[in-house]
Symmetry: C2
Subunit: 315 residues, 2 copies
């Protein structure tokens, strides 16, 4: 970096031979988070993490960040410090330098805009999946939705053991961005499309199918769901499958690859990063569209699960 | 540009041999603008213009923009369209492509975050001014503050003729960013420091002195002030000098250069762009600090002007 904060612009020196990958996210209190359960450090962490995840989904190396924060009158210096300590701590873990942005007064709640810049030699896109490709995800699904439900319904969550409650809450408030996994997958070759799971499996796989063409068949019995997520669903009378397919904010990576590449990618990623890849289905020829099927090949309707969850949230 | 809106990140191809210049600004209703007089198109225009001006101040070429907009419930599609038409129209005029961002609901008023990326071969910084350097500004000063006063006090502004009222209002609502001037000055060579006037002459020249070292002597009788600005000051009982030195948001460029370079730069810029440069003072040896002096060399206190203006605004 040539010049950081303090001039009219940051002046950056891109690495020759790389492309620049850029993402921005505006997070608003009572739209994207609630201060009732998200502290300043949680907001700082997550506002960085969601952008890191976008760079991860391209297989890029995040490098520079601009953070604009607006806080309501009465915000203490300790609160602002907690925000920046968490945000810049996470940035630092990923080798990302703060190069711009500012802090101002907000007439309403907390507002954060993060712009993250990274570099990638060969960015992985949403377009590129082909019929026959394996669909796979990193880690497990539905934990963030479980955490949100637990945070929203503390009276019901008390039925859940403390370790599971803490695990799913943390997954919602402090999601991990799969940066090293994304970089490894991009460098390994063989991945035909990649996206991060911010809106939920159904929507995000839908984005890949829109860009790539083709449909998908996803085996619900293959979806990786953590024990804590299942325990939370049982305690709250919710549907873990609905969380795993529609919950969103897991920030795992979803990728497609030729079936011949699958064993090497799954083994290689586990060896290189310790992160498990799970095959959850196949890209199929035909119109874009996602079918959830069970082990017998019967179609599982996704909608009842969502409605159940939505009704649970509205109580 | 390789990939724009629609993937997890925009993928950009920086021009080899250039540095990247990046700036971001968060504009909030009732903090940075008021909907009472700023329509959606004004907000769109200005949110782009203030960022273009930061790139101009580096002598850069703006190239890519990310726009995050949040509007309150009840915002019409026509209002959102007006915002984007103005913002992207101005972007287009400068050869800037929209590559990211989104629109969301705001729990409070209008919120805009713009991140603008540009390229510069040799960015001009705030540091670099030397004792003896000429201090110069493009265009004229105080018109934006005059426009704000006119918009805030329509009852008093009715004393002003319509052409002058329109001119200063437009200068406040639709500031021009000096992009082609900044590029020409960077390419010409000889500019030792540059900044755009967003916070006002006193503060922004102060930033240059902080970064460069040294003090400054500014001749108040040399400050370029438009006839419409003077007329607005007379009609509102305000102080045009206070507007010119402390008003802010003029988005003119302030630069320093060796005295030997001055005639060539002033003539060259006028020939190349039609924009006038005015020499307003000199960098002097000694501690950082700005002295306003009159034609006789007597110090003019800046504070009474500000207080007068502040009292005028508070009425």
């Amino acid at each position: 970096m040539a010049v950081g904060i303090g001039d009219d612009c940051a002046v950056l020196e891109p690495t020759p031979g790389t492309r620049l990958v850029v993402t921005t996210d505006l997070l608003l209190e009572d739209v994207h988070f609630r201060r009732r359960w998200a502290g300043p450090a949680d907001i700082g962490w997550k506002s960085l993490a969601v952008n890191l995840s976008d760079i991860a989904a391209m297989g890029g190396q995040p490098r520079w960040v601009l953070v604009a924060l607006a806080c309501p009158p009465g915000t203490t210096a300790a609160d602002a410090d907690a925000f920046y300590t968490a945000a810049l701590g996470l940035a630092d873990e990923h080798g990302v330098a703060l190069v711009g942005g500012d802090t101002s007064l907000s007439p309403a709640g907390w507002l954060v805009n993060v712009t993250l810049l990274g570099e990638a030699v060969t960015p992985l896109l949403r377009a590129g999946a082909r019929a026959g490709d394996v669909i796979a995800v990193t880690g497990d699904l539905g934990a963030s939705a479980a955490g949100l439900a637990v945070l929203e319904h503390p009276e019901m969550a008390s039925r859940l053991d403390a370790a599971a409650r803490d695990e799913v809450s943390r997954r919602h408030l402090r999601p991990a961005a799969r940066v090293k996994e994304g970089r490894w997958l991009a460098a390994a070759g063989g991945v035909t499309a990649m996206i991060d799971l911010s809106d939920g499996l159904t929507k995000d796989l839908g984005h890949v199918l829109e860009e790539s063409g083709g449909g998908a068949e996803v085996r619900v019995d293959h979806l990786p769901v953590a024990a804590a997520t299942r325990a939370a669903a049982a305690a709250l009378g919710a549907d873990a499958l609905a969380w795993a397919t529609g919950g969103g904010e897991d920030y795992e990576l979803l990728l497609t690859c030729a079936a011949t590449q699958w064993p090497g990618l799954a083994d290689g990623l586990a060896r290189a990063t310790g992160t498990r890849l799970t095959a959850i289905g196949r890209v199929v020829a035909g119109p874009p569209g996602l079918r959830l099927v069970d082990a017998a090949g019967a179609v599982v309707p996704a909608t009842p699960g969502f409605e159940h969850f939505a009704a649970g949230r509205a109580r």
